[in-house]
C-alpha cells in the first residue's frame, strides 16, 4: 500500500473533530505507512507529525486553508491523502489537490485494497446509485464521509515538524450563526430525525388549516425528543413563495435531492408523501417510520419500515403527551 497522509484540521480550542478520528481509522484499515498532518488553531500540539499553525490558519477560509493543505501534502510526499468530509476540508482541499497536480474524490463511504491498489466507494446521483472506483493519478485526495468508520483514539505526536507557510487572504472569518428562528435543524448527535411534510399546512378534516397547532406539535416533539428537524422541499418552498406556512422551517431544514442527507439511527416522517427526491436524503437513516393518511404513498413502497395510515395531528398530540 502506498504512503497515506491523513489530513485534519483542528476546531475551536485546538481539538480534533470526531470525523477526523474516523478518517484515521479508515486509513489504518488499509495498512501501510501513515503520516498525520494537522492545520489550524493549536495544530502544533495535536496528533500530527506535520503541522501548520498560526493566527492566519486558525480562521476557516479558503486561501489559508488551501495553502496549509498544499504544504502538508507536499511535505508528506504521500500518494494517498485522506481527510474528513467537513465543510472546512470540502471547501479547501479540492483547490489544494489541484495545486499539487493531484485529483480529488469526495463523499467516500468505503475504502478497500484490492491487489495492492486502493478502491473507494461513493454514491452518485444523490445517493441513488452506488459505485466503486479507483484512479491511477497521484496524489489522490479523498474526503471521507463522517460516520463511515468507527473513530479511533489518537495521542499527540511525539515529534512535530511545523511547516512555515505564507498565505494571505482578503476574507475574514466573522463567526457562526444559528438559524434566525433559534430552532435547531440537523443535530449531528441526535438519535432521531423528525421530518415535517407539506401535509401539516393543508386543510384538515374540518376543512380548515391548523398551522399554529401544527407548529406547536412539531416543535413540541423536537424539543422533547431532542431530535433533528427536517422538512421536504415542497413545505420549505411554500414559505419562500409567501404562503402561510410553518415560519421556523427554512432551506436549512430541507432533506433530499436538494437538501441534506443526515445520518441518524431513526427517522419519523409525518405528513410527507415519501417521494423519491425527498427519500434520497434518507439513505443513511437506518430505521424509518412514517405517519401519513395515504396508504399508497411512497413510504408504503419499500421506503419505510412501518407506515401508520393515520392523522398526524392526532398521533402527534398523543405522542407528545407520552414523551414530554
Amino acid at each position: 500500500m502506498e504512503k497515506i497522509l491523513v489530513l485534519v484540521h483542528t476546531i475551536e480550542g485546538g481539538s480534533i473533530p470526531r470525523a477526523a478520528l474516523e478518517t484515521l481509522a479508515g486509513a489504518q484499515s488499509l495498512g501501510g505507512e501513515i503520516a498525520v498532518g494537522v492545520f489550524g488553531e493549536g495544530a502544533g500540539s495535536s496528533i500530527g507529525s506535520l503541522a501548520v499553525e498560526g493566527e492566519a490558519f486558525s480562521q476557516p477560509r479558503y486561501a489559508t486553508d488551501a495553502a496549509a493543505c498544499e504544504a502538508l501534502i507536499r511535505a508528506s510526499g504521500a500518494a494517498i491523502v485522506l481527510a474528513p468530509h467537513t465543510s472546512r476540508m470540502a471547501r479547501a482541499l479540492p483547490g489544494a489537490a489541484t495545486r499539487v497536480g493531484g485529483v480529488v474524490d469526495t463523499h467516500i463511504v468505503g475504502l478497500s485494497v484490492e491487489s495492492g491498489a486502493l478502491t473507494v466507494s461513493r454514491w452518485f446521483y444523490r445517493q441513488r446509485i452506488e459505485g466503486t472506483l479507483s484512479r491511477a493519478a497521484r496524489p489522490w485526495v479523498l474526503l471521507v464521509e463522517p460516520g463511515s468508520f468507527e473513530a479511533v483514539e489518537a495521542a499527540p505526536a511525539g515529534v512535530v515538524t511545523k511547516l512555515d507557510v505564507a498565505a494571505v487572504s482578503k476574507t475574514q472569518f466573522v463567526g457562526f450563526q444559528s438559524p434566525e428562528t433559534g430552532e435547531q435543524t440537523i443535530r449531528p448527535d441526535a438519535e432521531t430525525l423528525f421530518v415535517a411534510g407539506a401535509g401539516w399546512t393543508k386543510k384538515q378534516k374540518d376543512g380548515q388549516t391548523h398551522t399554529p397547532e401544527a407548529a406547536e406539535l412539531i416543535l413540541g416533539f423536537v424539543r422533547a425528543a431532542k431530535s433533528s428537524l427536517g422538512s421536504s422541499k415542497s413545505l420549505v418552498d411554500m414559505g419562500s413563495e409567501g404562503e402561510p406556512v410553518l415560519p421556523f422551517l427554512t432551506h436549512l431544514h430541507q432533506i433530499g435531492q436538494t437538501g441534506s442527507t443526515p445520518r441518524h439511527k431513526k427517522g419519523l416522517a409525518t405528513c410527507c408523501h415519501g417521494e423519491e427526491p425527498h427519500v434520497v436524503g434518507w439513505r443513511f437513516i437506518r430505521e424509518r417510520r412514517a405517519v401519513n393518511l395515504d396508504a399508497n404513498c411512497g413510504w408504503a413502497r419499500g421506503k419505510a419500515d412501518v407506515l401508520y395510515v393515520a392523522d398526524a395531528f392526532e398521533v402527534m398530540r398523543e405522542l407528545n403527551k407520552l414523551i414530554s
Binding site: A63, R126, A136, Q172, V174, F176, V291
Partner: protein
C-alpha cells in the same frame, strides 16, 4: 459596482425519473440517458437566480451562464430556464453525467471562463456547491484555481454587498449553522446551496430576448471532450428494499404508544 457574474451550471435528470446504471465504453451511463427529461442542475439554478437578483440590484451587471452539456439537451432545458432570468449563454458541447470526472469538468469550465477574458476586479463566479449528478462539490474550487481566484465560498446561502464593495457571505456548515465571512472585494467564487430565493416565474419577453442570443451561442458551442481518470469497478442501484408494515384502522393513541416505545429502544 456593476458585476460580471459567471454562473456555471450543468444538467441533471429530472429528479422524478427512475435512474438505472448501465455499462458504458469507458464509464457507466444511465439507461436511456438521452431520453430522460433534464433540468438545469438544482443548485446551479439557485446560483442563477441569486445572480439575477444581485445583477438587478447593481445596474450594469451582466450574467453569463457557462454550461457543459450535450447541445441538444441543453437547448431543451434552456427553453424553460431562459424565461426565468436574463443571461448570455456560453455553451460547451460535451457529454457530462454523474459518472464523468469532476476534476476534468472543473478544468474545462475554468478554461472556458478564462477564454472570456473578463476583468477580475468585478468578477463573481457562481455555481452550485454540488451537482445532483456527481455530487462531488469540487468543480468550483478547480475553476477558482484555474482563474487564480483565492476567495472561494462553499454552500452559500446569502451574499450581502456593502457600500464599500466588500461583501458578507453565509455558508452552510455542520450542525445546521451558517458560517459568516467578509470578503474585501471581488473576484470571488461562490458555490451556492439553496440560497433564499424562490424560483422566478416564467417571463415570456425575457425568454424571447434570451433565445435571440442563446440560439447562435448553441450553434457555436465548441465540442468539448471531458477525459476521465476514473476506473469504475461497479455502479449499481442500492439493493435494500424494506418490507413496509402498513398499520391501518388503529387508534391514534395506540400508534403513539408504539412510536414512543420504538423511540425509547
Amino acid at each position: 459596482m456593476p458585476y460580471q457574474i459567471v454562473v456555471c451550471g450543468g444538467l441533471a435528470p429530472d429528479p422524478l425519473q427512475t435512474l438505472e446504471p448501465v455499462p458504458g465504453p469507458t464509464a457507466p451511463a444511465l439507461k436511456n440517458e438521452m431520453m430522460l427529461p433534464g433540468v438545469l442542475d438544482p443548485w446551479a439554478s439557485h446560483a442563477l437566480y441569486e445572480a439575477a437578483n444581485l445583477a438587478k440590484k447593481h445596474p450594469g451587471s451582466s450574467i453569463k451562464l457557462v454550461s457543459l452539456a450535450p447541445k441538444a439537451k441543453l437547448q431543451q432545458v434552456l427553453m424553460t430556464i431562459a424565461q426565468k432570468v436574463p443571461f448570455e449563454l456560453v455553451a460547451l458541447d460535451g457529454a457530462n453525467n454523474g459518472f464523468s470526472d469532476a476534476n476534468e469538468t472543473g478544468k474545462a469550465l475554468g478554461e472556458a471562463i478564462a477564454k472570456l477574458g473578463l476583468p477580475l476586479e468585478n468578477l463573481l463566479v457562481f455555481g452550485g456547491y454540488e451537482s445532483a449528478t456527481r455530487g462531488a462539490g469540487v468543480v468550483m474550487q478547480i475553476v477558482a484555481e484555474r482563474l487564480g481566484i483565492a476567495d472561494v465560498f462553499l454552500a452559500v446561502d446569502e451574499i450581502a454587498v456593502e457600500a464599500a464593495g466588500s461583501f458578507t457571505v453565509k455558508e452552510r456548515v455542520e450542525g445546521g449553522k451558517h458560517m459568516v465571512s467578509r470578503c474585501a472585494a471581488p473576484p470571488a467564487v461562490l458555490a451556492w446551496a439553496t440560497g433564499s430565493l424562490p424560483e422566478p416565474p416564467n417571463h415570456p419577453q425575457t425568454g424571447m430576448a434570451n433565445m435571440r442570443v442563446i440560439m447562435p451561442s448553441l450553434q457555436k458551442a465548441a465540442p468539448t471532450a471531458v477525459p476521465t481518470g476514473i476506473a469504475f469497478t461497479s455502479a449499481s442501484l442500492p439493493k435494500l428494499v424494506r418490507e413496509t408494515r402498513i398499520v391501518k384502522d388503529t387508534p391514534a393513541a395506540e400508534i403513539a404508544q408504539e412510536i414512543a416505545e420504538w423511540l425509547k429502544q
